[in-house]
Symmetry: C2
Subunit: 250 residues, 2 copies
């Protein structure tokens, strides 16, 4: 998400909060995820951001609609990743959409509902992939064990002409090469990050909120110091000069 | 742990707190695990327990020595699982001990240090097994994928005459049959729960604190409603009449 935002809005500085002390969110209830999401948003607002993106798919699916009323009236726009991801899937699909996501995101039915609302004729199937995040954090992105897990998770989606697969969790784009092998060359892999960056840029532009920062910086706040996140972030962004700050949002 | 305590002290009622909203602890830093452990202990003390067992191996390894001074002077004794587990490993080992645990427990070196302190001549090797908890929570205890993961994790421990393997995480006893296949019939598998139950019973007896409850009950408090924990607890205890209560310790 940070990479997509940096590319789309090179004039903006990004403040990233990773709630590494309480992750993963993907197995937790809507009540818990909503409580944590609200605290995370409050933390970012207290640092004077001009827009907030709930980049975690689980938090977007379970908490966004619940926290929006709380911030209604605030000047700061709030974005999620489900609607842009669903819109992109509808745009590219020829009939059969698959969604892979955490257990909580799948159970929420948020992606499937957002797609059906836009295109009731599409068939949508979802598969929860709870081992993908720990496998990525173990560093086994290109590994026969991960391939066997992915083949098992994806099998129910591959039965009837899948043409589009939504990568419904921030970690899954790191499995893109392996997922590509399993689904074949003809299936479009949708990562909502690009669609979200486009939406955010458009809305900030409409509101006259786009900035003119000359030296773009991205700053990372984490709630736990001991996380594979730092390594993953460097891998995704392709640089090792990232600045990390340990914070307490509880 | 609950099963071992129930068997060893049938006259005691047990209040169990599972911090399912913030688990897993096994990838987190000592600072975060200590903060959470302290809140969990405060919650149990507020419910008037007469002893507290930090049953999570990661919390015992990272937080116990840090939280003990905080409760020093309280009448309520505080137990961990590392020392009893290490003592049991030393008792049964003929020379080569292996420890499997979470990443944070292994990094803490708590088990190895406790064993070396008692028996400096033993060789001790540790292996972090971060995928075991999610594999167990996925329900894949008896599965070729879990077997492949376990074979990879255990390989470095099997090189020089391993005779004792410490199951250093509450979830791992559920993998006992599969681990037994991999290590063979001659390796002793140590689950600290029984050793802990013996120690707790002895100390409560010494202090005249053993109770005389006629109808033993175990009550489970969870911080998140949506967890495989409830299913796991029923599986481990072999009954489906468990009582669960949703609580907030944050």
């Amino acid at each position: 998400m940070v990479a997509a935002l940096e590319r789309r809005m090179p004039q903006e500085s990004i403040l990233y909060l990773g709630d590494t002390a309480r992750l993963p969110y993907g197995t937790k209830s809507a009540a818990t995820v909503t409580r944590y999401t609200q605290r995370n948003i409050d933390f970012l607002l207290a640092r004077d951001v001009k827009a907030v993106i709930v980049a975690c798919n689980t938090a977007s699916a379970l908490a966004l609609s619940r926290v929006v009323p709380h911030y209604h009236g605030d000047a700061v726009p709030l974005f999620g990743v489900i609607e842009p991801g669903a819109a992109e899937a509808v745009r590219v699909s020829r009939g059969h959409v698959g969604i892979i996501a955490t257990e909580s995101t799948v159970r929420s039915d948020a992606y499937a509902a957002a797609i059906r609302r836009r295109a009731p004729a599409l068939t949508v199937r979802s598969a929860a992939c709870p081992l993908f995040v720990p496998l990525v954090e173990e560093g086994w992105q290109d590994d026969p064990i991960t391939r066997a897990v992915a083949a098992r998770y994806l099998a129910p989606l591959l039965t009837d002409g899948l043409d589009t697969l939504v990568l419904g969790c921030t970690h899954y784009p790191l499995l893109r090469p392996l997922l590509r092998e399993i689904v074949g060359a003809d299936v479009v892999l949708v990562d909502s990050a690009v669609a979200v960056a486009d939406q955010v840029a458009a809305e900030l532009g409409d509101k006259g909120l786009l900035g003119g920062v000359e030296d773009q910086t991205s700053h990372f706040c984490l709630t736990d110091s001991n996380s594979p996140f730092q390594q993953l972030a460097s891998t995704i962004l392709g640089r090792d000069d990232l600045s990390f700050e340990l914070v307490d949002v509880s």
